[in-house]
């Protein structure tokens, strides 16, 4: 049986879990250990198996193979109503024939909590999501954000061992999503609950999690802290999925150690960071994130030691807090650089058409072997 100790977070462990729908594999051998109290996101494009994995933890799907443990208990054959789990559905799934208070009370009623105790706990849960006084409303009378919070209150009021969230913020507009991210995080910490959430939004995964698990094609391709996933993607897929990058193709000129050089197809030799298994002569894609690229007016001093390439700004996209400069660099190609607008963007030292120098630290440029999704960057 699942540990029923209230308020005591438990771990979740998946061991070589697999699930197919007919002949179509959805999850192929996922192993993942989640620490008590940790908040982990499953990140990936649709069809990568993240939702199926979550539903297997919930007990809504039976795995074909593998083991699922919640706390120390093996729960493979335990139906969802005995798992003591809380879940927020993408559609929220608030019962439309019940009031907000009845929705929140549902899980308590199923556990035999009734009367004044139940009312108190419902009120406390609604207060926690800042919806005190909304108890008598119907879900249809609430806004999207309010429904989301009711779903969250309903999921945590029973003090579940694990909280599961399936794309919890996908239906909300951007501003609301950002404030809900913070709110979910705070509630998760306050309740001290182990949480797993599924998302296809890299920003959400980075903001909300202690650990990000990137999935592709039914498998885990990388698991790590948000910074590890973002700064040290292990594969080209992970790199592409967690943010925009400049991609430059070339051939390794100098390797065999952590830092090396790549001769770009466009001509220039650039410094990069290499995985141990990439050797001179290998065809690679060099991936550089826009914020790792510095831009300086040609007459200014170079900010850091190392390479600097002359180029011309062809196009600028002003975003308020920052500006994306598209720079045509001779022998490299088009490089997008993100520049925070420390000085007013109107001051105009980096105008379209101006000659500039661009560069990056060698460790910011990751070389991945081309056409090899398993290629590893330096770590």
């Amino acid at each position: 049986m699942v540990d029923q100790i209230r308020g005591e977070p438990v771990g979740v462990e998946l061991t070589r879990v697999a699930k197919s729908y007919g002949a179509v594999p959805a999850v192929r051998g996922v192993s993942l250990a989640i620490e008590p109290g940790e908040i982990v996101s499953l990140l990936g494009p649709s069809g990568c198996g993240k939702t199926t994995t979550l539903r297997i933890v919930a007990g809504l799907e039976r795995p074909d193979a593998g083991e699922i443990r919640i706390g120390r208990a093996l729960v493979n054959t335990l139906p969802p109503w005995k798992r003591n789990i809380g879940m927020v559905f993408q559609s929220y799934a608030l019962f439309p024939h019940m009031t907000v208070a009845e929705n929140v009370a549902f899980g308590l009623r199923m556990r035999g909590v009734a009367g004044a105790t139940m009312d108190q706990e419902v009120a406390a849960a609604l207060a926690q999501v800042r919806l005190g006084g909304f108890g008598e409303r119907r879900p249809s009378e609430l806004s999207g954000g309010q429904r989301q919070r009711v779903a969250l209150a309903r999921a945590i009021v029973t003090r579940p061992s694990v909280l599961l969230l399936d794309e919890p913020l996908a239906a909300l507009d951007r501003q609301l999503r950002e404030s809900m991210q913070i709110e979910i995080r705070e509630i998760q910490r306050a309740v001290g609950i182990t949480a797993i959430f599924v998302t296809h939004d890299q920003e959400e995964a980075l903001t909300l999690s202690d650990r990000v698990v990137v999935m592709e094609d039914g498998r885990i391709v990388q698991s790590g802290t948000p910074a590890e996933i973002y700064e040290r993607p292990r594969t080209r897929f992970v790199s592409d999925f967690v943010g925009f990058s400049n991609v430059l193709d070339g051939r390794v000129a100098e390797g065999g150690r952590e830092l090396g050089t790549v001769t770009l197809t466009a001509g220039r030799l650039v410094p990069v960071s290499l995985a141990p298994d990439i050797a001179p002569g290998d065809e690679v894609d060099v991936v550089v994130r826009p914020e790792k690229v510095w831009v300086a007016a040609a007459h200014e001093a170079v900010p850091t030691a190392g390479h600097a390439f002359p180029g011309t700004i062809t196009h600028s996209v002003y975003m308020g807090a920052l500006t994306y400069h598209h720079v045509a660099v001779e022998g490299v190609g088009r490089v997008v650089a993100m520049v925070p607008n420390v000085e007013p963007a109107t001051s105009g030292t980096l105008a379209v058409g101006s000659a500039v120098l661009v560069g990056w630290r060698p460790e910011s440029a990751l070389a991945f072997r081309r056409n090899d999704p398993g290629a590893r960057a330096a770590s």
């Binding site: 139906p79 109503w81 798992r83 879940m87 019962f95 439309p96 549902f106 899980g107 249809s140 309903r154």
Partner: protein, 299 residues
């Protein structure tokens, strides 16, 4: 109706615009006309005529307007027994159809089985066969020399044939058979639209399948039960052929009595009054249904 042109603020509307407006005004009317004519001629006019007849002391050759026929229908034990039986029959048929139909509707709405289409065909197939043919089918099964009695007799379970064919319950059986498709299709239509995440959410909140059904799925599908029940009830309350054929004259219902009053006893006003009572009963059920739907829609 004419929003397409009403936005025009030209000081002098052109002739062509006026024509467009005229057409756009007449169009809905033209489309509604056939329906209005059919409903008017087929429903409103006969009911109005029946109401008029029921208020005359005799028909034809009325001399005064009177409520005495209503008095007869609503106080005579003979009529009261028939009214009671008619509404009891319709109620029993509705309840049984709902109980029997719900699981089938569930199967149609939720199953992924490849037999599902066959079951669906089986559900609607009876609608393709004339009521008379189906009733004769039941006669063959239930009759004194019918299938059930023949089997029981061959097995030595009975000596005398069971009289399966003349009671209230054989009529109930026949009506449930006829009307079940309406109930099943009404419920299945609603069940099919209920998002499965509701049941999953209930499961995760600790409700086992029985509690999930009772506290989530059933309340969410009650609208399908209600509309199916209204159809079944309103048809059952006015049935004529089935009680005659399966009741062997022992199960008198209002429709039969009305026909007897008018055609056999040639007492049109009393028959018309009985018909108005039947209509009023049906309208009450429809009114309750309307109230229910309005309350439900507010959620």
């Amino acid at each position: 109706m004419s929003t397409a042109v009403s936005g025009s603020t030209d000081a002098v509307p052109m002739a062509s615009q006026r024509r467009v407006r005229d057409v756009s005004r007449l169009m809905p009317l033209a489309l509604l006309a056939p329906g209005i004519v059919v409903i008017g001629l087929g429903l409103v006019w006969p009911i109005a005529a029946m109401l008029a007849v029921s208020l005359q002391d005799k028909f034809p050759d009325a001399t005064r307007v009177t409520l005495e026929h209503y008095g007869t229908v609503l106080s005579d034990p003979y009529f009261l027994r028939i009214i009671g039986r008619t509404f009891a029959l319709a109620t029993v048929v509705t309840v049984i159809a709902a109980l029997v139909g719900y699981p089938v509707a569930w199967y149609l709405a939720r199953s992924n089985s490849r037999w599902k289409h066959l079951v669906f065909l089986g559900v609607i197939a009876p609608l393709m066969v004339s009521i008379i043919v189906r009733m004769i089918g039941w006669t063959i099964i239930l009759g004194n020399e019918g299938l059930i009695n023949a089997v029981l007799r061959a097995l030595g379970a009975i000596d005398e044939p069971l009289r399966l064919m003349q009671g209230f319950w054989s009529v109930v059986l026949g009506l449930v058979h006829i009307l079940l498709p309406f109930m099943i299709l009404s419920i299945a239509a609603v069940l099919g639209k209920i998002d499965r995440s509701y049941a999953e959410a209930a499961n995760i909140l600790g409700a086992n399948p029985v509690r999930t059904f009772l506290s989530v799925t059933l309340p969410l599908s009650v609208q399908g039960i209600a509309s199916g029940s209204v159809i079944v009830f309103c048809i059952s309350v006015g049935v004529f052929v089935t009680p005659i054929m399966l009741g062997r004259g022992q199960v008198a219902v209002l429709a039969i009595t009305i026909q007897e009053q008018m055609v056999v006893l040639v007492d049109w006003p009393t028959g018309a009054a009985a018909a108005m009572v039947l209509t009023a009963g049906t309208l009450v059920v429809l009114g309750l249904y309307g109230m229910f739907i309005r309350r439900h829609a507010r959620r």
